[in-house]
């Protein structure tokens, strides 16, 4: 009896969480005459395929829209942002974990809080900055601004990670005649490869999920990223191509979810470390 309740509850939560994804799936492959039947017609069951599935919407998405272009744009931005983030967050995290002593703790907390400062507070000053630099409507604007979201949390991740790495190796290297800087450049990176990997994945997911800055800075359809182009540019005037829209949402969500799932425990460690233990 207890087991039944457990499975029922688990299924319930899965149904609530997964329902929109099931809906993406079924919409993406339904024929239009099966898709566009008003919900007031109670004889037509919308939950299942009443006609055979079709690839028509997928063909439309890949053949007649800029979807592939958006994927390419997203990848360009991701690579650039990941490089910048690693270059800035790893030294900063190291600094907080090893060099700055007691006020490093407080500063670390401060940096963590900057992660909470949302794009919706900053998009207006950044819009001005981007205009001043002449970067409106270019991927350069996103590459410049996205690190402000990725760096604070990644700095925090690196700091947390380094605290779990023992001092000994670095100290030994310094006894062997390395300067502190040489240790940082030559020894430390090898010690924290898993931490760096987490930073890479986290930056990647953040960039893929970002919407506010992309909406603010990018106006040409061919320069959009996936998370902007799909909900904004696949709608032509008032015409929503729901099949293609949901196919795009599905094809983007699932790979991202798989990657995210692999690293979720590390992210959560970062969150709880940051929030509860200063």
């Amino acid at each position: 009896m207890k087991r039944v309740a457990l499975y029922a509850a688990a299924l319930g939560f899965m149904a609530f969480a997964g329902f929109p994804f099931y809906w993406m799936l079924i919409t993406a492959f339904k024929q239009n005459r099966d898709l566009y039947v008003g919900a007031f017609d109670t004889r037509h069951v919308p939950w299942i395929f009443n006609d055979p599935p079709t690839l028509e919407h997928v063909r439309l998405l890949f053949g007649q829209t800029d979807f592939l272009r958006w994927i390419a744009n997203t990848l360009i931005v991701v690579v650039a942002v990941v490089v910048i983030t690693v270059a800035v967050a790893v030294p900063a995290g190291y600094s907080l974990a090893r060099l700055t002593g007691r006020w490093g703790e407080r500063l670390g907390m401060g940096i963590f809080f900057t992660y909470l400062i949302p794009p919706t507070l900053l998009f207006i000053p950044f819009a001005r900055l981007v205009a001043l630099l002449g970067l409106q409507n270019s991927l350069g604007a996103l590459i410049l601004i996205y690190p402000t979201i990725t760096i604070p949390f990644c700095t925090w991740l690196v700091m947390g990670f380094l605290r779990s790495v023992p001092w000994d190796i670095e100290e030994q290297a310094m006894i062997d005649g390395y300067s502190r800087l040489a240790v940082i450049v030559k020894v430390v990176p090898r010690l924290i490869i898993p931490g760096i990997l987490t930073v890479v994945v986290f930056s990647f997911t953040l960039v893929l999920q970002e919407f506010v800055y992309a909406l603010t800075f990018i106006s040409s359809v061919d320069r959009m990223t996936v998370s902007l182009g799909v909900p904004i540019a696949l709608v032509r005037g008032d015409v929503y191509h729901w099949g293609a829209l949901m196919a795009a949402a599905l094809f983007t969500s699932i790979p991202l979810a798989i990657v995210y799932n692999l690293f979720i425990d590390r992210f959560i460690q970062g969150f709880t470390l940051g929030a509860v233990k200063g």
């Binding site: 457990l6 499975y7 688990a10 939560f13 899965m14 969480a17 997964g18 994804f21 809906w23 993406m24 919409t27 008003g38 919900a39 007031f40 939950w47 800035v88 900063a92 600094s95 060099l99 700055t100 500063l107 907390m109 940096i111 909470l116 400062i117 949302p118 919706t120 507070l121 900053l122 998009f123 207006i124 819009a127 001005r128 690190p147 402000t148 760096i151 604070p152 700095t155 300067s179 502190r180 800087l181 997911t205 999920q209 909406l215 998370s227 902007l228 799909v230 909900p231 929503y240 949402a249 983007t252 969500s253 995210y260 799932n261 959560i268 969150f271 929030a275 509860v276 233990k277 200063g278």
Partner: protein, 295 residues
């Protein structure tokens, strides 16, 4: 030795040098956001006149702004209440061992991993005025006799927005609560079992009080994510019908970017700061008063 070598061993200087980019990157824009809110800046020109409190005076007397502020509070509180209930319940389920747990966990985390804008467009389709599967299901089960125009009526649209925000955030909260559950002191739980406390008693008198700080952390993150989110409302309703469902971020976007009145947009966005400050203070307090959840 050389000056370079001396710098390479001065730990305090190295520390500051390596941190400076991070501090510049986030500190400056926040200050600029506040400065802009007192200015007459527009997107078209580079002029930068001092406006004093004119922007604030303008928005405070604006019924659309007041409505947006109220909506932000309503959606944030409503969704976080849902999140607390859903997340504590889901954590109880997912701490148990059962077949297919890995798959179940994957599905549970989907809403958190997917880009907000893509989730929002899927919900827009689910809430469609003509094709809403929710309406169909309610009608077939006999629960609905009229018709629900989910995104067409202001109140119903706020309900829809609240549901989507709760849906988006509860998986994250669940995982945080699960992490908290894992770090609960085992001896306390065993003592409660030995003393004959049943499941519900243990849950409400032992576990939930111990979990409170962790649940609070989840809620605080949730408040920030919901109050400052633009994507869900922008895509679901665009602030409509007739500007009744705006929240602060969407209104700031409409005035500041689409309307090119940067000063007023910035002033609207500055009203997000109280939410953030409350959250920051609460978190610092929690950090000082508890050890639970320190993994």
């Amino acid at each position: 030795m050389s000056l370079r070598r001396r710098f390479a061993d001065r730990e305090d200087l190295l520390g500051i040098a390596m941190l400076a980019p991070v501090l510049l990157l986030v500190g400056v824009p926040v200050v600029l956001a506040i400065v802009l809110s007192f200015s007459t800046a527009t997107a078209g020109s580079l002029s930068f006149g001092w406006a004093g409190f004119a922007n604030y005076a303008a928005i405070l007397t604006d019924p659309i702004f007041r409505r947006a502020l109220a909506n932000t509070v309503i959606v944030t509180i409503g969704s976080q209440l849902l999140v607390v209930v859903l997340a504590t319940a889901a954590a109880q389920v997912f701490r148990a061992a059962f077949h297919g747990k890995r798959t179940a966990r994957f599905v549970l985390l989907l809403p958190w991993a997917v880009p907000v804008s893509l989730a929002a467009i899927a919900w827009t389709w689910i809430f469609d005025s003509t094709f809403s599967v929710i309406n169909w299901t309610l009608k077939v089960t006999g629960l609905l006799h009229g018709w629900l125009y989910w995104l067409g009526e202001p109140r119903l649209a706020l309900v829809a927005i609240t549901i989507v925000q709760a849906w988006r955030i509860f998986p994250f909260a669940t995982v945080i609560v699960l992490a908290g559950l894992a770090s609960l002191p085992q001896d306390v739980m065993e003592a409660a079992i030995v003393d004959g406390a049943g499941f519900w008693r243990r849950l409400f008198y032992v576990e939930l009080p111990l979990l409170l700080p962790v649940v609070a952390v989840a809620v605080l993150f949730g408040v920030v994510y919901t109050a400052t989110d633009l994507g869900v409302v922008y895509i679901l309703t665009g602030g409509g019908p007739a500007n009744t469902t705006h929240v602060l971020p969407t209104l700031a976007f409409q005035r500041g970017i689409q309307g090119a009145d940067l000063g007023q947009g910035a002033a609207i966005a500055v009203f997000l700061l109280p939410f953030l400050i409350v959250v920051a203070i609460a978190m610092l307090r929690l950090a000082r008063h508890t050890e639970v959840g320190s993994t």
